[in-house]
């Protein structure tokens, strides 16, 4: 897509968010849309790493969890204002990513998958077992609502606008990175590390940077999550959550910022829609995901575009 198409897409997107936020009063739907927003952030952060730079991470929920727990501990146990906890939450996740990334990113392919998987499990276990600090398996209670200046983001509507404004900003930021010189280098790593090195891309450094960036963004989602639900528990940040983020990226379409939005929406909404199937819910859920992968192997975004292009070609004739 060119620059103009993206600007139009942002405008349509912003308009849709405003309209939805304005028209929808039902708390359940607002909450659902907020979750779509948070999941979009997570999918977007992983897409930068996986879709563009081609580095798989099966432990991304760990950074989500670190973001949520750092703000929870700071704002509740130490009474720090949430605004001040935000840089700490994002910073901690980035620092952890940097330390973990140095040895881990030497791996590639399946091995990197295993490495990040192990990391995700370690974080999950720490959150569950270090009960004096994290509240252990029963979770962390009493996180205060988010206050910025005089505004308290407590009602569904306020929070809806906050989350989606953050999503829009992140979408624009990621797009700009992808189109820049650094973004080109990222994509070159995906296609061949040796070739990237041959043109002078410092692949090690760049992979570490995108990993750290991606972790920071996931932690931002974790921060927003903690102040949305006031109660967090380790289960939310387990291995299954990591896999769900990967699925969002793959289903939505790798290497596409809008793919993150689509994948996150589908995977958040599907379980809600499928309640009608009661005990067969998970079966149908699995079947739909399999169907998408069989018929649109490059994800929804690319798949929809392909169908559209084929349609246009047939009509041009």
């Amino acid at each position: 897509m060119n620059d103009k198409a993206h600007k139009i897409a942002y405008a349509v997107f912003a308009l849709a968010v405003i309209l939805l936020g304005w028209q929808v009063d039902n708390q359940y739907y607002l909450q659902l849309m907020i979750f779509i927003g948070l999941n979009t952030l997570l999918a977007l952060s992983l897409n930068m790493l996986m879709g563009y730079a081609g580095q798989i991470s099966l432990g991304h929920a760990a950074f989500y969890g670190i973001g949520a727990y750092v703000t929870a501990i700071l704002t509740t146990t130490y009474q720090v204002a949430p605004v001040l906890a935000l840089p700490a939450a994002v910073g901690t996740a980035m620092l952890v990513a940097w330390i973990v990334g140095i040895p881990t990113l030497r791996l590639s392919g399946y091995y990197l998958g295993m490495g990040t998987l192990g990391f995700g499990m370690i974080v999950h276990i720490v959150l569950r077992e270090w009960s004096s600090v994290t509240g252990g398996a029963s979770g962390f209670v009493g996180i205060p609502p988010l206050e910025i200046g005089l505004v308290v983001f407590a009602s569904g509507k306020n929070y809806f606008f906050l989350v989606w404004a953050v999503v829009l900003l992140c979408l624009i930021m990621c797009r700009r990175i992808i189109d820049s010189r650094v973004g080109r280098a990222l994509r070159s790593i995906h296609d061949g590390e040796k070739a990237a090195a041959a043109v002078g891309v410092d692949t090690k450094k760049l992979k570490l940077q995108v990993f750290v960036f991606s972790a920071g963004m996931a932690a931002l989602a974790g921060f927003l999550y903690a102040h949305l639900v006031y109660f967090i528990s380790p289960g939310t940040f387990s291995f299954v959550a990591s896999i769900r983020i990967v699925t969002m990226v793959v289903i939505g379409g790798m290497a596409s910022i809008w793919g993150a939005l689509l994948g996150a929406s589908l995977l958040t909404l599907l379980p809600e829609w499928l309640h009608a199937f009661s005990e067969f819910e998970m079966v149908v859920y699995g079947l739909i995901l399999m169907g998408v992968m069989i018929f649109l192997p490059r994800g929804l975004t690319r798949g929809v575009l392909d169908v559209y292009e084929r349609y246009r070609k047939n009509h041009d004739r």
């Binding site: 994509r187 296609d191 041959a198 043109v199 002078g200 891309v201």
Partner: protein
Amino acid sequence: MLRIRNLKCFYGRIMAIKGISLSVAAGEITCLIGANGSGKSTLLSAVCGLLPDWTGEIELEGQSIKGLEPPAVVRRGISLVPEGRLIFPPLSVMDNLKLGAYTRYKKRAANAVEADLESMMSLFPILRERFRQPAGTLSGGEQQMLAIARALMARPRLLLLDEPSMGLAPMIVEKIMEVLEVLRSGGLTIVLVEQNALAALEAADRGYVLETGAVVLQGAADELLADKDVKRAYLGKDYGDFYDAG
């Protein structure tokens, strides 16, 4: 310009290059020929910093490049056109070219890079036609041209090419050799690694013949072209021909 002294390269415990010394004069095309496994590509990898495990000395204009990472080597003015081209297939031709200039953006070289893009497209007009197309849709010869153009975008003083003729029709090989000669007359120093010895020696000024990790013959390219051993082993002249001529 480039001087290599007693270079030994290792893959684990295997020694792939067993003490090669050679020198490349500025403004010349130097070719390295030899069969599979003779160590040609390994030598280029060592020069580019892609192969960390070597001993001996490699000097560019009198300065050692030992221990430099690939990006630093590119910044010193050495560009590699890798074996098998290794372009970035999903990226557009434009993005591939701009990636070649990756190390230059920091110096606020945006205008110079644009100008270089333009000159690459006059050197290889086909790239202008394919400018926005994904590089993977290009034909083999076009991809090779793109790979060369990409390497040139870094404004190298020394260009290394690893088997640019691989898998290409003779006509296109000729075209690529012509481009190399144009570049040489523009002052670029070129090291050409080839299995296609005939094409390489015809374009080159000097040649080295490698065999199992050592230099077995060296000299001016036209002398090598006339050399009996080279003829027999690398130029595909058959034995009858060889004995008749001898």
